[in-house]
């Protein structure tokens, strides 16, 4: 390094631009090829899932066409209508979101704005931990506890509100093992993830604006409705969509609880009504003939496509809102 000033001054004297060698060394090129190869491998693996599933579901599509998605008649060797299961999956997911969103937002706001410091730290860690608890544990608890506890409220709804079709049961006076319980437990399951993402977005609401609202004499609730919520609206929508994506594909929480005949009915409170795609696949796949497997794969593919679209939209929104979705 000692000789550098001398070199520099002679360069200046000659007034010749110093030759730069941009471009990369051979080691760099190899490095880039290795990295590119890894990226391509991941692309191939994930891309081949889509390609393979599409290829495998072709026989069923040739045989039944779009009838697969427009009929709810599921009687494998002859009829392949999965509409009952598709609608069921969506209903479970929407029900779960309807249950999870309000309480998750309350919890997120409580952690951010109301809780004292010690409680905040505990709750943040607890919510993150609960987000990693396997779904099969939620499902098991739902099977053992929720199907019993929900009997009373379900009976109440059935007896007094049965003029609304969704508050009926497909089988008279039996509750539990229903779409409703599935929606409830999947809702409980997505509470941590919706809370965690929406909380992270809400905490980014500009602090000066919050303090400004308070300084102008606004109440805490006024600050929340006028500053925090408008600022984080997109992030909350994204968090809900991510929760929805999870709920649509959820398998074992539903598998353990649901008892279904895959029929298309608006009644949600009892067994043997709507189905669920993941349940249908789990229950029938390995023991079926190949044409049935093909039909189930096609249903799975539709589920997959739905979650892909929901997730892509959600990620786009959450990324722009500045949250982390990892």
């Amino acid at each position: 390094m000692a000789s550098t000033p001398a070199v520099a001054s002679s360069d200046l004297d000659l007034d010749v631009p110093r030759t730069l060698r941009p471009g990369s060394t051979r080691a760099d090129r190899i490095f880039r090829v290795v990295l590119g190869a890894c990226g391509t491998t991941v692309l191939l693996i994930l891309g081949s899932i889509v390609a393979y599933l599409i290829n495998y579901s072709r026989p069923a599509f040739h045989r039944a066409g779009f009838h697969l998605f427009t009929s709810a008649h599921w009687a494998p060797p002859v009829y392949y209508g999965v509409l009952g299961a598709l609608v069921g999956s969506m209903v479970i997911a929407l029900l779960a979101l309807a249950i999870a969103l309000p309480v998750s937002l309350s919890l997120g706001l409580m952690i951010n704005e109301y809780a004292p410091e010690w409680l905040r730290r505990i709750l943040i860690a607890l919510v993150d931990l609960l987000a990693t608890v396997p779904s099969v544990v939620y499902g098991f608890w739902g099977l053992e506890a929720l199907t019993v506890y929900v009997n009373g409220p379900a009976k109440f709804l059935d007896h007094h509100f049965s003029f609304i079709p969704i508050f009926r049961t497909p089988e008279a006076n039996t509750y539990g093992y229903s779409i409703f319980v599935c929606g409830l437990i999947v809702g409980v399951m997505i509470i941590p993830i919706v809370t965690s993402i929406s909380r992270e977005v809400m905490v980014r609401a500009p602090r000066e604006a919050c303090e400004g609202a308070l300084a102008l004499g606004g109440t805490r609730w006024g600050m929340i409705t006028d500053v925090v919520l408008p600022y984080s609206r997109n992030g909350i929508i994204g968090a809900s969509l991510l929760g929805l994506g999870r709920a649509i594909g959820e398998t074992f929480a539903v598998y353990l609880i649901l008892s279904t005949t895959n029929t298309l009915t608006p009644a949600l409170l009892g067994p043997n009504g709507l189905g669920s795609v993941s349940y249908l696949i789990t229950n029938n796949f390995t023991s079926s003939a190949s044409i049935v497997k093909s039909a189930l794969t096609e249903a799975g593919l539709l589920l997959f496509a739905t979650t892909l679209v929901v997730n892509l939209i959600a990620r786009g929104i959450v990324d722009r809102a500045g949250g982390s979705t990892a």
């Binding site: 890894c38 990226g39 991941v42 599933l53 109440f156 409980v188 398998t251 796949f285 997959f304 990892a326």
Partner: protein
């Protein structure tokens, strides 16, 4: 503070006659009193209504609790409205609803943990550590829990998740590096696909591996390594995505400093960028592992284990049990002891996840104080810098 004088309502600050004391939104002792009073009033109201109208449809504990809460909200709202105005009433009711909502959100979650401990702990502790070390091959449906064990399931879980991690973690981190370093069209496609795949339903991964690997091999197809493939597919997008976010946080100044010193890209990446993010990358990987341990649908078609099978140490041959499969298979059986054993298995599963989660907390906390350590130029670098300066 000179500013406080302006805001002080006792000082004259405007045209006389138009001043009024500013209301400060703080909690007075009044507030507690009003809240308590409303609770009691609501209870009294509910009691009166229920005793006048006799047997109502809602007269069970759940119904009464809901009516009590509704009456409380009403009374408290009206009291706050008349005494403090509409804004304060809204604020107070919002506070009530937010705390209640939080309680409703946390209650089932805490209930699940409690239930898990209550049901599972007695099973795990029956003849400790027998439950963790043996398999259930000799335990029939009516045998006591002390004869059963999840040893085979633990071995299977560790091997399956271990193999999946060995393959998926390096691949994910290198891919994340690629996405971070390259701005080409290909990398944009990879980024999009990884983003889209992060929420892939587990069942799709299980289905794919079943069709591609298990089915062509007939009876030999289901094995630990097939389960690893499905788990690896689940981990890939998750860890890649997480690692990408981590690498984004490596300060640009560090990168620029490396480039300015004439470091080639590969050295910059391997010696500056990745070491700086080392701990966070480890955290992301462990979180991926923690998720993979609990994946059920991914292993359901692929591992094929039976809850009562013997130890299978070889992940490459024969069906292999793991913890989620153990829980799922025993959860719906008619034997109450086997259902208890399933709770034992669930407790072990959650304990493993908890352990991994705690590790991530500890290492990321331990790192916080020493973040600057990696900024020091390593020894080889000093030598290289001296040489290139000649």
């Amino acid at each position: 503070m000179s500013g406080s004088a302006v805001l002080d309502p006792t000082l004259p600050s405007g045209p006389p006659g138009r001043e009024r004391p500013r209301r400060r939104a703080s909690v007075s002792s009044d507030a507690t009193l009003e809240c308590m009073g409303s609770i009691v009033a609501a209870l009294a109201l509910v009691f009166v209504v229920f005793s006048i109208s006799g047997q109502l449809a809602l007269s069970n504990a759940f119904g009464i609790a809901i009516c009590w809460f509704g009456a409380f909200a009403l009374v408290y709202g009206v009291v706050s409205r008349t005494r403090h105005g509409i804004e304060r009433a809204k604020d107070r009711l919002a506070t009530v609803f937010i705390w209640t909502g939080s309680l409703i959100a946390m209650l089932p979650l805490i209930f699940i943990i409690g239930w898990l401990l209550f049901k599972g702990l007695s099973v795990v502790l029956a003849g400790f550590p027998h439950f963790l070390l043996s398999d259930s091959s000799k335990a029939g449906p009516s045998d006591p829990v002390s004869k059963a064990g999840v040893g085979a399931a633990i071995v299977g879980s560790l091997e399956q998740v271990g193999i999946a991690t060995l393959v998926a973690a390096p691949l994910s981190i290198l891919t994340a590096t690629y996405l971070n370093e390259s701005k080409s069209a290909l990398s944009r496609v990879v980024r999009l696909v990884v983003d889209a795949m992060t929420g892939t339903p587990e069942i799709i991964a299980g289905l794919f591996v079943y069709l591609l690997w298990v089915q062509p091999r007939h009876t030999n197809g289901q094995s630990g390594v097939a389960a690893s493939m499905a788990l690896g597919i689940m981990m890939l997008p998750f860890v890649t995505r997480g690692a990408q976010e981590v690498l984004k946080t490596v300060p640009g100044s560090l990168r620029e400093a490396g480039l300015a010193l004439g470091a080639p890209q590969w050295r910059l990446t391997l010696r500056v960028v990745l070491p700086t993010a080392k701990v966070a990358l480890l955290t992301v990987t462990i979180l991926g592992v923690a998720r993979a341990v609990g994946e059920t649908a991914a292993v359901y078609f692929t591992a094929g284990g039976s809850a009562t099978q013997k130890f299978n140490w070889n992940p490459f041959h024969g069906i292999q049990l793991d913890l989620p499969l153990y829980v799922v298979q025993f959860a719906k059986v008619s034997s109450p002891t086997e259902v208890r054993e399933a709770w034992g298995g669930a407790l072990v599963l959650v304990f493993m996840v908890l352990l991994l989660f705690t590790v991530t907390r500890v290492i990321s906390k331990g790192n916080r104080g020493k973040r600057r350590r990696h900024l020091v130029l390593p020894a080889w670098r000093r030598g290289a810098a001296a040489k290139s300066g000649q």
